[in-house]
Symmetry: C2
Subunit: 207 residues, 2 copies
DNA sequence: GTCTATATTAAGATAGAC
DNA sequence: GTCTATCTTAATATAGAC
């Protein structure tokens, strides 16, 4: 679902600016905590002009969320059966971590939505997301049965990958303050640590 | 820091009810997204009566947060040097997971505060939390040097424990919908999975 | 397409009766 | 201590000029 009427160049540019500003504000304060004044300020437009492009505050929020789930699931969709299982899952984890690094605002928007009870994406969670998880859990179960992966609970494995990777976007500020650093340094360290952890967890033990 | 003037029984009971209702609402919608009307509704009191017990919306929020950090750090403080290292850390992880199960609202309040840039607890993050993490990271480093723990990055290990355990409170609704279950069942499964994962990660490999 | 001005509702907070 | 009524500000949204 694209943003409304992006026909002329100026319309496309302003729609973009509004969605970008809205992502900034919604991802930090949630739907109800965000205000159109803030979004207009960040977008560099007047508040009525915002509502010329989108019919309401909720319409802006929905426009942001509608594309989000697909983007968020893409790394998991790319988990294929043709590679070496441990490395396949490690690649998935690293793709997810890279998403946190490149799109922290999208991660926080998603986190805010879930924290508030997922009122606008519950259907997708019970539909697309659950179906995809069921599918990939079956693949992981197959790998385990073949002895190519240590016997782990596939769904909780996926939860742990989501949790550990999204943590670096959602709890960004805590990570930086506790480490006493700025910038992307934590991501390099996290890649090493998480690779080590999941390799140890997933590598089958011949005994 | 206790809630204000809990002298008589009725005052104590109402203060309790307000804080409990506020926890419910703030943890779901964040500070700005929550309204006094909602809190009053949940508490079963009138809005002016709320403001008889607390001087402002912010005062209620601060009362909730002020005790939260200590509660949240208690499990980590209890990580001692006298046990067997792998089991000590597993115990810590399980204490943290149990906190998520028993106090999901507190976990979400904390998550909301961090997502919004931690405006009211940044000092404690850079102070108490960082100091505690530095202290326990040193302990973990010692264990590693003694060969009693696999060589892992101690701070990212702690981040991963926070992320994986808090996930079951903060993303509660997603976990339940994806698994297609209700109640505490996910916690039992998570305990098994996370115990397995951290044991594999932390057990030193003699080679 | 964009703005100023404004209508309308909701939210935080207070006054004052009981 | 608790309520109704109300003040004030802020927020969503619209009207209408340019």
């Amino acid at each position: 679902m694209p943003s409304p009427r992006p026909r002329t160049r100026i319309q496309a540019r302003n729609s973009e600016a509004i969605l970008d500003a809205a992502l900034e504000v919604f991802s930090q304060y949630g739907f109800r905590g965000a205000t159109l004044d803030q979004i207009a300020e960040v977008a560099g437009l007047s508040k009525p002009n915002l509502l010329y492009y989108f019919p309401s505050k909720e319409a802006i929020h929905i426009a942001l969320l509608s594309g989000l789930m697909d983007t968020w699931l893409a790394p998991l969709r790319a988990l294929h059966h043709d590679g070496e299982p441990v490395e396949e899952i490690l690649d998935y984890m690293r793709r997810k971590l890279e998403m946190s690094r490149l799109y922290p605002r999208e991660s926080r928007l998603f986190a805010n939505e879930i924290l508030q009870g997922a009122p606008r994406i519950l259907d997708q969670i019970e539909g697309d997301l659950k179906a995809l998880v069921d599918d990939k859990a079956a693949l992981i179960t197959t790998w385990i049965a073949e002895g190519r992966l240590a016997p782990v609970d596939p769904r909780h494995l996926l939860f742990s990958i989501w949790a550990t990777t999204q943590h670096y976007a959602d709890f960004d500020i805590q990570v930086h303050r506790v480490l006493g650093v700025e910038g992307d340094a934590p991501y390099a360290e996290a890649t090493r640590f998480l690779t080590q952890m999941y390799r140890a967890t997933l590598t089958p033990q011949p005994r």
